[in-house]
Amino acid sequence: MQEQELPVAIHVEDLVVGFGRRIVIDHLSLDVRRGEILGLVGASGGGKSVLMRTVIGLIARRSGKIDVMGSDIGATPGCRTNQAAQKWGVLFQQGALFSSLTALQNVAFPLRENATMSDELMTEIANAKLEMVGLTSEDGAKFPSELSGGMTKRVALARALALDPAIVFLDEPTSGLDPIAAGDFDTLIKTLQKTLGLTVFMVTHDLASLNTVCDRVAALADGKIVAIGPMSELLRSEHPWVKAYFHGKRSMMLQPKVM
């Protein structure tokens, strides 16, 4: 494997994040390579979302270094992070669509704010994004409160991709979707990643999507990355938490062949 040759999209070094006296992320280091899909797993409440939100600059860190596409995140609040923000798109767990805008307007919003173009072109691009995530132009006229869970996630993904970012952060993209919709969403992420050449950082609990779409999987336990590598490698890991995670009853049921 030519692992070392791939340039790094996200570089996290010695990161510490905590709230009050509780340390959530404890001297964590992680590299995400350009063009890969990295899945992050960890216990509920174990700091996965905190790690993601720190990397995108929403939570202040205690110490350490975060470098996303060459920008230092969180060192000087505001300006550098804002610059970097144009290089990534974020899919929040609940979609976080603007409830006063239609689906189409939601997707057009980043375009309107960050690029100069005619309204006609903007609508075409936004509509193209909606169709790329598998929605129709009729769906574009709906308000977020009229969308189903799966459609909300798709619109949110289209909005995250509006500016063709280099990196996409996905916070539990398949949670709350039925297995068929979740499978479709996985395929969608894989396809888009291929066509648009994205780097995907995905927080997930969905063992099926870890297995099918992720190039590498990182396991977060006790505030550290305890194992990282392709799925097959993680399945061989000896770390007790990783073992419990991937060899529990539910996991065995899902992947009898891998074992």
């Binding site: 409830s99 690029a115 173009m117 072109l121 691009i125 790329m132 132009s137 500016l163 063709d164 066509t195």
Partner: protein, 378 residues
């Protein structure tokens, strides 16, 4: 090689070759859109076009769509468009964009005919009727819940009532006292200033006493409560509705009116008269202060004049109105809260409506009471 996007053209007879170069990405959107529009006349003349993609350094959805749009526009005219030299990385993206925006939805043109205006008027009238019916429904539901509580007093949520009284009554005290004190002081000051011209300073006390006890005390307090507590009720119930908490209550076989609304409305009915009383007293204090320091009327004289000027009737008139105003504020706030829909915007809209409507109704009610008390000679 520069990253500045360019669109080179070379015509060979009726065949046109387009050679986009540089970065065809969203960062250059304005330039790109101009470029693709500028070749329109050449496109119109050409019989066939070839798009040579070999010079493109970077391509994203926007760039790919613009190129697709050019060739599609051309192909729509029954002509032939060809794409050559695209890097492998971009082929997928271009193929993907071939599929999109195929269906032309009937453009939502903004026309405003007379029929539309009439429709709007009709809808507004209907909305007013629905508003009234929502108010009456909530009033009915609260009455029903009250009867239910009277039959089974144990089902009443006493803890909730006490907590709500603490919030809308006790916590509102400082601001109510401050504002009514100032209002009383201002009325007295204006009275002294103007009455002095014709030597009627003694009647300032009558004016302050009657105005504050009959009208202003309760009205000001009701308006403040509508703005302070009514809006809080609407926002609370509205966000509970948004988060399906109210549906959750219903599925447990509990009536949201019993649990959430009745204690809130009753708390207002209990708290508002108390606040109005305290407010009226504070306003009299304010008037007395100004009379002492500005009008040169000693507190003893002020109190003696007050004794002569006002009777218990004035006080009763003010106090009788208070619970009714509280009921109106509570019902409006709760019914607007339950009408919140999914979006954050609707929460804001309903909260505004709640405050505006309850202040309006409080003033209308005050007017009706004025007519009523005048006709029964109070």
């Amino acid at each position: 090689m520069t990253n500045e996007p360019l669109l080179l053209t070379s015509a060979n007879g009726s065949a046109l070759e387009l050679r986009p170069t540089g970065s065809w990405t969203v960062g250059n959107a304005a330039v790109l859109e101009q470029l693709s529009a500028s070749i329109a006349p050449q496109l119109a003349r050409a019989q066939s076009i070839t798009v040579n993609m070999s010079g493109v350094r970077e391509l994203d959805t926007l760039g790919a769509w613009l190129i697709e749009r050019i060739s599609r526009h051309f192909a729509d005219g029954g002509q032939h468009a060809r794409l050559v030299g695209a890097a492998d990385d971009y082929i997928d993206l271009i193929e993907e964009l071939r599929q999109v925006n195929r269906r032309h939805d009937p453009a939502a043109t903004k026309r405003m005919s007379i029929a539309d205006r009439l429709e709007r008027l009709g809808r507004a009238a209907l909305a007013a009727v629905l508003d009234l019916s929502a108010f009456l429904q909530m009033l009915g539901a609260v009455c029903l819940a009250t009867f239910g509580v009277l039959r089974h007093p144990r089902s009443f949520r006493l803890t909730s009532l006490v907590y709500q009284i603490y919030r809308v009554g006790w916590q509102a005290l400082p601001i109510v006292i401050l504002i009514t004190f100032l209002i009383g002081a201002i009325i007295a000051q204006q009275g002294f200033f103007h009455f002095r011209k014709f030597g009627a300073e003694a009647y300032v006390v009558d004016m302050v006493g009657i105005l504050v006890l009959r009208e202003l005390g309760v009205l000001i307090v009701a308006i403040m409560v509508a703005g302070r507590s009514g809006s809080a009720y609407t926002a609370e119930l509205g966000s509970m509705k948004m988060r399906e908490e109210i549906d959750a209550l219903s599925t447990m076989g509990l009536d949201p009116v019993d649990i959430l609304i009745l204690p809130r409305v009753v708390a207002l009915i209990v708290a508002l008269p108390i606040l109005a009383f305290i407010g009226a007293v504070a306003a009299l204090y304010g008037g007395g202060f100004v009379a002492w320091f500005y009008g040169g009327m000693s507190p003893v004289t002020f109190i003696a004049r007050l004794h002569e000027a006002i009777s218990v009737t004035h006080f009763e008139v003010g106090m009788i109105k208070a619970p009714f105003m509280a009921l109106v504020i509570g019902i409006v706030a709760c019914s607007e809260g339950l009408r919140v829909k999914g979006s954050a915007e609707s929460l804001g809209k309903q909260t505004t409506t709640s405050v505006v409507k309850s202040i309006f109704l409080v003033i209308v009610l005050d007017g009706l009471f004025a007519v009523f008390f005048a006709s029964i000679g109070m």
